[in-house]
């Protein structure tokens, strides 16, 4: 591979949109004279993830970050838009051709107590992708599982145990070993540490970094925790009510936020260093995603909002640090 390819996009997402039909059953709709109701979890989301980097998506509840993760790994079908993996269109409906592509990406889930089948032994859990893809046979599988357990900091003796014999952090290690077993290039990590205690979170985050260095992995990290995202990511996308409001280089996002929502999120992070920075309470709450505000969805909470923000949905525009979808991008410095 040439250098150019090495840094090219591994995953490319274009105009990704997902609507959920949340209508009442047909009979109720007829009787109550109601139409169908839709919830737009994601609207027109576009971004790309480069090889070897960690791209993070942050957002609060209702921002649709997990929906994006699920669409990328094929757990949900997009209502519109395209996902390309290494230049190839991901079309989960077609089936046959996806097998080769599927082996190249994996997912780590939020809740290590739900992501491991309680009736399976660790050996079978970790080997599931190997068996499904038919990568190895018989004793080779056992050897590979032992090796993977060692890689994530567990011992080969753990292979015979059941998940309930492990703590939350150890379970997440098992889940990581499973994700690594098909030798993927890309791993979607959906809130991988939000169910864990901080001391264990540090172990898992460090492990994820080590694995990235060792195997040249590319991560999509989904999180609501800005501190975790800052620690892990190269580039960050900020989601608000299903739309990408800002994408920026990680280090710079925290210094020069371009979108007022990003700025607001940063101000809300508790000040652990006791630097005297006062956490600023934010105005209002996240609106109901079934009935989002017109124009820019953030306008009712935004200190910079003007008439145009209620009338027109802002398109992403280039900023010094990346891009932001705001009519007044770049003016957040003037926020009080």
């Amino acid at each position: 591979m040439t250098d150019l390819q090495m840094t090219g996009p591994l995953v490319q997402v274009d105009g990704l949109t997902r609507r959920f039909d949340i209508s009442k059953p047909w009979l109720n709709r007829v009787l109550e004279r109601e139409g169908k109701q839709f919830l737009t979890a994601n609207a027109d989301v576009s971004f790309q993830i480069n090889k070897g980097e960690t791209f993070a998506l942050v957002g609060e509840s209702g921002s649709g970050k997990s929906t994006i993760a699920k669409m990328i790994v094929g757990l949900l079908a997009p209502s519109a838009g395209h996902i390309r993996f290494d230049g190839e269109e991901m079309d989960f409906a077609s089936g046959a051709d996806m097998r080769a592509l599927r082996r190249r990406f994996q997912m780590i889930f939020q809740d290590p107590f739900a992501s491991l089948n309680p009736r399976w032994r660790v050996r079978d859990i970790v080997a599931e992708p190997i068996v499904t893809f038919g990568l190895l046979k018989g004793p080779e599988i056992t050897r590979e599982v032992d090796r993977l357990l060692d890689v994530v900091g567990l011992s080969a003796a753990d292979a015979a145990k059941f998940p309930h014999e492990f703590s939350g952090g150890q379970r997440q290690r098992i889940a990581i070993a499973r994700a690594l077993s098909s030798k993927p290039e890309f791993i979607v990590c959906d809130e991988p540490t939000s169910a864990l205690d901080v001391s264990v979170q540090a172990q898992i985050l460090n492990l994820m970094r080590d694995l990235q260095d060792e195997f040249g992995l590319t991560y999509l990290l989904i999180s609501h925790d800005l501190s975790v995202v800052r620690h892990m990511a190269n580039r960050i996308g900020v989601l608000y009510l299903g739309r990408l409001v800002e994408v920026a280089d990680a280090k710079r996002l925290f210094v020069e936020p371009q979108h007022p929502y990003t700025r607001m999120l940063l101000d809300a992070v508790p000040d652990l260093a006791l630097s005297g920075r006062r956490r600023k309470p934010v105005l209002g709450e996240i609106p109901n995603p079934i009935d989002p505000p017109s124009g820019c969805a953030f306008n009712p909470r935004c200190p910079l909002a003007q008439d145009i923000c209620k009338a027109q949905t802002p398109m992403p525009r280039a900023t010094p640090t990346g891009e932001a979808a705001c009519h007044f991008a770049g003016q957040v410095g003037e926020m009080a």
């Binding site: 699920k70 790994v73 094929g74 757990l75 996806m98 097998r99 599927r102 082996r103 990406f105 994996q106 997912m107 889930f109 939020q110 809740d111 739900a114 992501s115 491991l116 089948n117 309680p118 009736r119 599931e128 992708p129 499904t132 893809f133 015979a160 889940a175 499973r178 098909s182």
Partner: protein, 309 residues
């Protein structure tokens, strides 16, 4: 904490479920009764004093012998007396329980396999498949299950040529009871499947593209078996009673192979003429069996329910 050095038996003995069993007097008694009846039924050919199915061993002169009393004509004495044909009541109960248990177990097994399969498919697929299956279940639930069993039994007998009716009767009975009982299993399994399906371990399997059948059988099925065992146990009691009811009504097993229900039907004809034992002892056997199985089911439900622990 279990260790590898412990034997399999020790681990099972120490498990939560066994601990709960050891601390529930009702469960212990019920388990003991069920085990006793089951063993007696299985070993009936060796335990029973006579073989009630063998006409050569029967002596009509022995008919209506009261328990523990010598027969007026032959002088033979039977612990539980004899029935109208001179069959030893104890032996007929042992053989009858055998048939009752066989029909009950087979019917529940049939209902279980059918209910689990349809429940898994309905819960996992959702959509119109789920809608269709559950509406069928709703319709069936609005009729008493004994009525459904009678209907299926009647239709089946109409379809089977008369020469085979005797031999096929027992299988028809099993299918009829099973078909009237699958809904319970399907509903519970469907609900549990919908819960399990949304869990992340199933999503992890879907991410690697595991086949839906494999996900259902290897992932979801083992995790929905808890509630299935509970309704299976309670369903067994119901199936035994359903079999007895059908046999009592005269549409069950043929009189040449009497089950507990058949025995009770024969017995009730003689209750008011003074031969009470022909009715009483099979009834006690049926009651003890159904009650114990039911109590075991109740205990199992509580033991498997983490909220009540």
């Amino acid at each position: 904490m279990t260790t590898d050095t412990q034997s399999r038996f020790a681990r099972i003995w120490d498990s939560d479920i066994m601990w709960s069993f050891r601390h529930s007097p009702v469960a212990i008694v019920a388990g003991f009764v069920v085990a006793l009846i089951a063993l007696a039924a299985v070993f009936a050919p060796w335990l029973a004093p006579t073989n009630p199915y063998d006409p050569s061993q029967l002596n009509l002169m022995d008919g209506f012998t009261a328990p523990m009393e010598p027969n007026a004509f032959t002088g033979n004495s039977y612990i539980l007396g004899t029935d109208n044909q001179g069959r030893d009541v104890l032996s007929t109960i042992l053989y009858g329980t055998r048939i009752s248990l066989f029909v009950g177990l087979s019917a529940v097994l049939f209902a279980m396999v059918l209910g689990i399969t349809l429940g898994l498919i309905a819960g996992y697929r959702g959509g119109w498949v789920d809608g269709l299956l559950m509406r069928i279940a709703d319709v069936q639930l609005s009729f008493p299950s004994i009525l459904i069993a009678l209907l299926i039994f009647g239709v089946a007998r109409g379809l089977i040529p008369p020469a085979y009716r005797e031999t096929m009767a027992i299988w028809v009975l099993i299918v009829a009871i099973g078909l009237s009982d699958w809904v319970q299993f399907a509903r519970v399994v469907r609900g549990a499947t919908m819960v399990e399906k949304s869990k992340e371990y199933v999503q992890a399997a879907r991410v690697v593209g595991a086949h839906p059948a494999k996900i259902l059988i290897r992932h979801i099925l083992p995790n929905v078996m808890g509630p299935v065992l509970v309704i299976g146990t309670i369903g067994l009691a119901l199936a035994i009673i359903a079999e007895a009811t059908l046999s009592f009504l005269g549409v069950g097993v043929p009189p040449t192979q009497p089950s507990l229900g058949t025995l009770i039907r024969i017995g009730q004809q003689y209750l008011f003429s003074g031969e009470w034992w022909i009715l009483l002892f099979p009834s006690i056997a049926l009651l003890a069996l159904a009650l114990s199985v039911n109590l075991l089911g109740d205990w199992l439900r509580d033991a498997l329910n983490p909220r009540l622990r």
